[in-house]
Amino acid sequence: MISIKGLSRDWGHEFSLKKIDLKIEKNEYFVLLGPTAAGKTLLLELIAGFYAPDRGEIWIDGVRATHLPPEKRRVGFVYQDYALFPHMTVRDNVEFGLRLKGRLDAEKRAKELMETFGVSYLAERKPNTLSGGEKQRVAIARALAIDPEVLLLDEPLSALDRRTQEQTRAELKKVQEETGITAVHVTHNQAEAILLADRIGLMMEGELVQVGTAEEVFTRPATRKVAEFLGVAKDDGQESELEWPKWAGPRPRW
């Protein structure tokens, strides 16, 4: 469970976070949705402890984590471009966290994870020889290796081609359900949010403007700006067309 209270961080320009209050339940798949430069990734990086907030608190699993360094927070982080260690093989990437923890079963556990994510055959390769989808799976395996409480995903699908995206999206949801991990997933893609999220948090200009299920957010947008971003704003009584991608299946009626 993640509990965020009055979290602010000022970068002196548009990328500022303003008084974020948010509670994410255990085992929840939470999606942070919003346009670019809304501060979604920064919020994720604050949860991970890569930056310190100016004000406010972060609690992870009942522990006050506000001033804990990242290595004490038990969070796994997957970046949009996966940030694999380029000087290490796939195996060494996956084993990295396990070896630091001094786990004796590091080799075995890494092997299991690579099998789970179907990257065993890449074990001795370097990251720069992998495709986007392969890198993605290695990055998730690496993050999950240390059994984190929380999995933080920064636009994990946006660098993938459409077919890999569909497949990976399903895998992500499956992994999250099987491990029961709390996932926070950042995206600007609405369909992705609808398909994955237990709840959606809408971020705009550094503020968390609305939190709710997909249905709540899309049928009752909190502000006009939210409605416009979601493409459901009423204009002269005419509902504007929300572009619904074909691959997302039939458009729900709400």
Partner: protein, 261 residues
Amino acid sequence: MITRQKYTFQKGFYILLGAVGSILLAFIFLTIFNMMFDQLLHPSGILRAAKDPSVMNSIGLTLYASMIATAIAVLTGTPLAYILARRKFPGKWLIESLVDLPVIVPHTVAGIALLMIFGSHGLIGKFSPVRFVDALPGIVVAMLFVSAPFFVNSAREGFQSVDPRLEWVARSLGAGPWSAFLKVSLPLAFRHILAGAIMSWARGISEFGAVVVIAYYPLIAPTLIWDRFLTSGLRESAPISVLLISICMTIFVVLRMLSRR
């Protein structure tokens, strides 16, 4: 047709740039290789120099002293380079200017400044148990002063080229700041650090002005060459010069090849 025209335009453009640029190349090439060819055509001078123990000793001393200076630059400059690459703080430009200062200070001035602090009445020299004036430590500090900026700047570039998010991910995987530095940042910046060390070593070897002020003796190769030039002219100094740069170029070609691998 359009691509063809574009191509010819580019071709002319690059031929022109190449022609102008080759003036500079020819200047450097001719200067160095004219001397080398001149000596290699009559190798008796080089052979005599190679058999002269004072010549070989001074070349050895030069390489050795510069190696010590480079080791000090690596040990103290790497942390500095990392901070300069990673942190923003007020007055950072001042620190950066300070690092670059030895590049713009005339080297005789650097030597005089070094003599004033490391000399027997100087701030450090007064209390130091080791003697700097006319001794190996004096040569080392002079080389360190002029070569440190090359190392620090190269290492800083190296650390800047490492995405900080790689360090963050390492931290989230359980690495403390030290192991993130040692396992991620340092190996990824290693090439730049090595290149910086090679540059710094080369710069140290080529130093004359600062060294000659604080430590004329023991003679390093550049000082020896100057000494022989004053006493016996080109006949004596040119062969030693060729010998020195031949040895240096061989070492650098090997090191460069090793560091590129």
